[in-house]
């Protein structure tokens, strides 16, 4: 287990591993999301209380669950990056932040759209909503901090510290509906009580679980892809990247064996892409 872990932490091994895994995660994730959302919108019955308005749950709940999971994952990767100084974990931290911010924003927007018809208000300052908004700002802080440093390693490690300190907000978001009397309803699927005694009819629950699982797989695929790009940019001077890039260009030029390297590799490994990333960081080419 440990040797496997260590080998995976080496950038070229990770790159090849991710190259193989990401497409499958993406296909499986999109398929599950597709079926889950389709069943949720058209097959599942309307709710006895909320009617059709409850169907936004099939987007809102996966997004909200991911917003918390991604931040937790970022903090774990951050701890690994800081304790063992592992380059791959640093890349993992900064790669996850924009995805997490997107899911958090999605959870907030869908929550507001759900709140208006059911509660009667788009926004209330209750503990769940406020702490989720704080979570969005924490993500934005990580993204901004990453761009403030010109050295990517320093930037990533600063982000790791911020992720670690900010992670105290995650249990607050999750337990806010239990700790405080809140307008937001309690947990339908993610609490001990709910697991023992399901709070959702099976015909409604199944699509929800599918779209949730799909969202996690989709996140996995996007995260791996972003990490691959991050690794390539950081290691652009390393022999293995040059060898890869050479191979890829060769394959592209002769058009003989396009299968030698995936299209993602060609895209990301050409110098153009590397410079673009530098420009993103505000350093200029």
């Amino acid at each position: 287990m440990w040797t496997w872990f260590h080998r995976l932490a080496s950038p070229p091994t990770f790159y090849r591993f991710a190259e193989r895994l990401a497409p499958w995660l993406l296909i499986a994730g999109l398929a599950l999301i597709g079926v889950g959302v389709w069943q949720g919108l058209f097959v599942a019955p309307a709710d006895y209380q909320q009617g059709d308005a409850f169907r936004i749950i099939y987007v809102h709940v996966p997004a909200a669950a991911l917003s918390l999971s991604i931040y937790t994952a970022m903090a774990v990767a951050g701890a690994i990056a800081l304790i063992w100084r592992m380059k791959l974990a640093e890349v993992a931290v900064v790669s996850a932040a924009p995805i997490g911010a997107s899911f958090t924003a999605l959870a907030l927007v869908t929550g507001m759209l759900w709140g208006k018809p059911t509660w009667g208000a788009y926004w209330v300052w209750d503990a769940r909503l406020t702490s989720e908004l704080v979570l969005l700002f924490l993500y934005l802080g990580v993204i901004g901090l990453n761009q403030a440093y010109s050295d990517p390693r320093t930037a990533a490690r600063a982000c790791a510290w911020l992720a670690l300190v900010g992670v105290v907000n995650v249990p607050i978001v999750h337990y806010s509906v239990q700790w405080w009397n809140s307008l937001h309803q309690g947990s339908t699927i993610l609490s001990a009580e709910a697991i023992a005694n399901p709070k959702m009819a099976p015909s409604m629950l199944k699509p929800l679980l599918m779209s949730m699982a799909g969202s996690y797989l989709f996140f996995g695929a996007v995260w791996l892809r972003r990490m691959q790009n991050g690794v390539l940019v950081r290691e652009r001077r390393a022999k293995w990247v040059r060898a890869f890039a050479g191979q890829a260009l060769l394959a592209e030029g002769s058009n003989a064996r396009p299968g030698m390297a995936g299209p993602g590799l060609v895209e990301a490994a050409t110098p153009r892409q590397g410079r673009q990333d530098d420009a993103d960081r505000g350093r200029g080419a």
Partner: protein, 198 residues
């Protein structure tokens, strides 16, 4: 004092390797003069030796502990609002060192009372450098790691520095010093290490 052995040291800054596979050793009573053009890695080397920067690989044995080494970088670590005397006393208190006569230490680097008690922001570049060097005199630590200590010093300052070096290595201390120019004074135990050539 054990010999300092540096073995196959690799240091990078950002994604540029600045010190590549460097090995050398320094013994008590020696002065190692580290030479090299700009960007050759002199500053990074000293930062690694003083514990400010982490090497990519290689090892240093034994790494001098913080109470055994004194590093002076490009900046003088003088708060401009406080006087040279107050700065000296602050660093001694921070490091838990007792100075019997801080004024004597400042006098030893050529700062008289008037210069030692006015806000150090008003001192000239050379005087500030002297105020920083006074810390070496005040705290008796065996390892001196000096990065461009001659910058801004006048002729008297250079002589004074040569005297400090000679006294320190004469007393069994060791010095690793970087500079572009030849070190002043004649030291029998002077060795050089050219980073550009390595």
């Amino acid at each position: 004092m054990p010999r300092l052995e540096v073995h196959q040291l690799v240091v990078s800054r950002g994604d540029r390797i600045v010190v590549n596979d460097l090995s050398f050793s320094v013994a008590a009573g020696e002065v190692l003069h580290v030479l090299g053009r700009n960007g050759a890695g002199k500053t990074s080397l000293l930062e690694v030796l003083c514990g400010l920067r982490r090497p990519d690989s290689g090892h240093i044995a034994p790494q001098p502990e913080s109470r055994e080494r004194h590093w002076i970088g490009h900046k003088n670590a003088l708060n401009p609002v406080l006087s040279a005397l107050e700065n000296l006393e602050f660093w001694a208190a921070l490091n838990g060192e007792r100075i019997d006569d801080p004024r004597a230490a400042l006098a030893a680097v050529g700062l008289q009372k008037a210069q030692a008690t006015r806000p150090s922001g008003q001192l000239s570049t050379g005087q500030k450098r002297r105020a920083a060097l006074a810390r070496l005199v005040a705290a008796a630590r065996p390892w001196w790691l000096l990065d461009e200590p001659l910058a801004g010093l006048d002729v008297q300052g250079l002589d004074l520095f040569a005297g400090l070096l000679a006294a320190h290595v004469g007393g069994g201390g060791a010095v690793i010093v970087t500079s572009h120019q030849p070190l002043p004074g004649a030291l029998a135990t002077l060795r050089s290490l050219n980073l550009s050539a390595a």
